[in-house]
Symmetry: C2
Subunit: 325 residues, 2 copies
């Protein structure tokens, strides 16, 4: 692999000149720059990032810590992060904290040992990683005070709740996955904000909640708001078994806009995180911080987007269920 010294020897100039020419410091004559660049590309020269890293103390690598790489959001976050990172010529090193706070700390340390210039952390449910020795951006934790960028989960909940009330529904069930998760709680809270015009709001959680669904519908509920697409799919399966139709008997919504929502029938109405925007903002913050600038806004909430599909419909006055009865 050609190095800077080789080029220098090759052209009878000094390494410093080659370095200056290649990095465009402007201390070299235009003509010399051209000749050096030509020769460099002939030789297929690629600067050694190792050398540069040693010299500059910066690796050009960012670390991404996820609570669980099978998290449905990981692919999209990684994708957009990767794109944003490529544009800035930095690399992304991944680390899985395996759903466990201790592993999270270890994962962070491994990344730090590798000399990452900054950290992007999607924290474990309920944990708030402390201040690190490198610039850090927290992704997707709702109420963390410092340097976080997150989807506006509450806003998303409000959005979908308003969609439901606009369709005329007044008796609503909210079904959450897991009370421990701050994100989940934010989503539910947002839903409640959007349901001020509703007559009854029943809040259920987890498996137990699922079991109470049919009863709630018998008692007049006409819409079910879940806090995850996966949950919505399970609810739909469950309802089919109970002979309850979506959206004819009851409207159903998801959360997150996962790919399979399009493959369902009816296609799932849900709310999407603007992951692209989240990734973009997160990287921007981080890079700014790495370059030593203080960012003014420490806490960014990215609006969610309502995705209206077929699993929600106008409240009917007589449902087929009533006909059956």
């Amino acid at each position: 692999m050609a190095n800077i010294k080789q080029i220098a020897a090759d052209m009878g100039v000094s390494v410093a000149t080659v370095s200056n020419a290649l990095t465009g410091k402007g201390r070299v004559s235009a003509q010399m720059v051209a000749r050096i660049k030509l020769r460099a590309s002939e030789l297929g020269y690629r600067p050694s990032l190792a050398g540069r890293a040693l010299r500059s103390g910066q690796s050009g690598i960012l670390g991404l810590v996820m609570p669980d790489l099978t998290n449905p959001l990981f692919p999209r976050i990684a994708q957009h992060l990767s794109l944003a990172a490529d544009n800035r010529q930095v690399g992304i090193l991944i680390a899985d904290s395996r759903g466990n706070p201790d592993e999270q700390t270890q994962a962070i340390n491994r990344l730090l040992d590798r000399g990452v210039d900054g950290l992007l952390i999607v924290p474990q449910k309920g944990t708030t990683p402390g201040l690190q020795s490198v610039p850090t951006v927290i992704i997707n934790t709702a109420s963390d005070p410092d340097n976080t960028v997150s989807a506006d989960h509450a806003g998303g909940g409000k959005l979908i709740a308003e969609h439901i009330t606009a369709l005329g529904h007044r008796h609503i069930v909210i079904l959450g996955v897991d009370r421990v998760s701050e994100v989940q709680r934010d989503r539910v809270e947002g839903m409640r904000m959007g349901l001020v015009t509703a007559d009854t709001v029943l809040e259920l959680w987890g498996e137990d909640g699922m079991d109470q669904l049919a009863g709630a519908i018998k008692n007049g509920a006409t819409a079910i708001l879940t806090t995850s697409d996966l949950m919505a799919l399970r609810v739909q399966s469950h309802l089919i078994r109970c002979g309850i139709g979506v959206p004819n008997d009851v409207s159903l919504t998801g959360f997150d806009d996962l790919p399979f929502g399009l493959a369902m029938h009816p296609m799932l109405t849900t709310v999407a995180q603007d992951v692209e925007q989240i990734a973009k903002v997160a990287i921007e913050h981080l890079m700014r911080a790495i370059q030593g600038e203080q960012s003014q806004e420490k806490n960014d909430k990215i609006a969610m987007r309502l995705v209206t599909r077929d699993s929600t419909s106008l409240k009917r006055n007589t449902t087929s269920l009533e006909t059956i009865k």
Copy 2:
């Protein structure tokens, strides 16, 4: 950040001694080793991987190139790779080739520029990345000759086909996603091998195939084998619309065992890639190659596993469809 020189000065020995003590080269007295290690941990010393990389020419980083980070397999591959990599003290740098062969080349080059010691490539459909300048393992391409580790897609197809014929089905539809993909073709071919005892096998592809499904069932088909879980979900949705029940009227299978298969009703019978094993073997091969050993087996096929759930059942002699007619 404490460095080796500091420790040396601190203890009145030379840097070489510290290095030898810390890396356990055994050229230092046990007592000195102990003292040095103590002091190092007091100082919170972490060896600079940049320095080491420059010196040794090895970065301790592997590059993972995926055709599309939203690929449903990416999370699980990344997770297991990440675990295997942690155990070996190497890092994983990700790159998205964005569904495009040119980007694939660029992604590889970016990784190479970063000095990765080896490459794990899940290639674009239909492409075979050429020989690289670092050890490379190809993941999940069926018939590539060199250094690939892959799920045994054909074997998986055979497995699920045999499951179906064992249930008594004799008129089968195979529904593939995309003819261009070698993986998809292998799956279909495997299915055919498992269907030797069937009376009729209809092979359909893509959207067009989906449209012909109802007709095929009217003509007597009692089982549909798809080459992806997502496809299976879409088929199920489609069948419900046509008034055809799974598994009562027709048995249905997926491929890949994605998480949502469990949330479906009926839960989807499918076939799972042993991603953990794939990741393990891939990393082993790669590390061996990096350490300069020739691996004997250049081409590993990892067996798939049948996941029997509720979307398949015994062929009945009278289906509800026939009753309807």
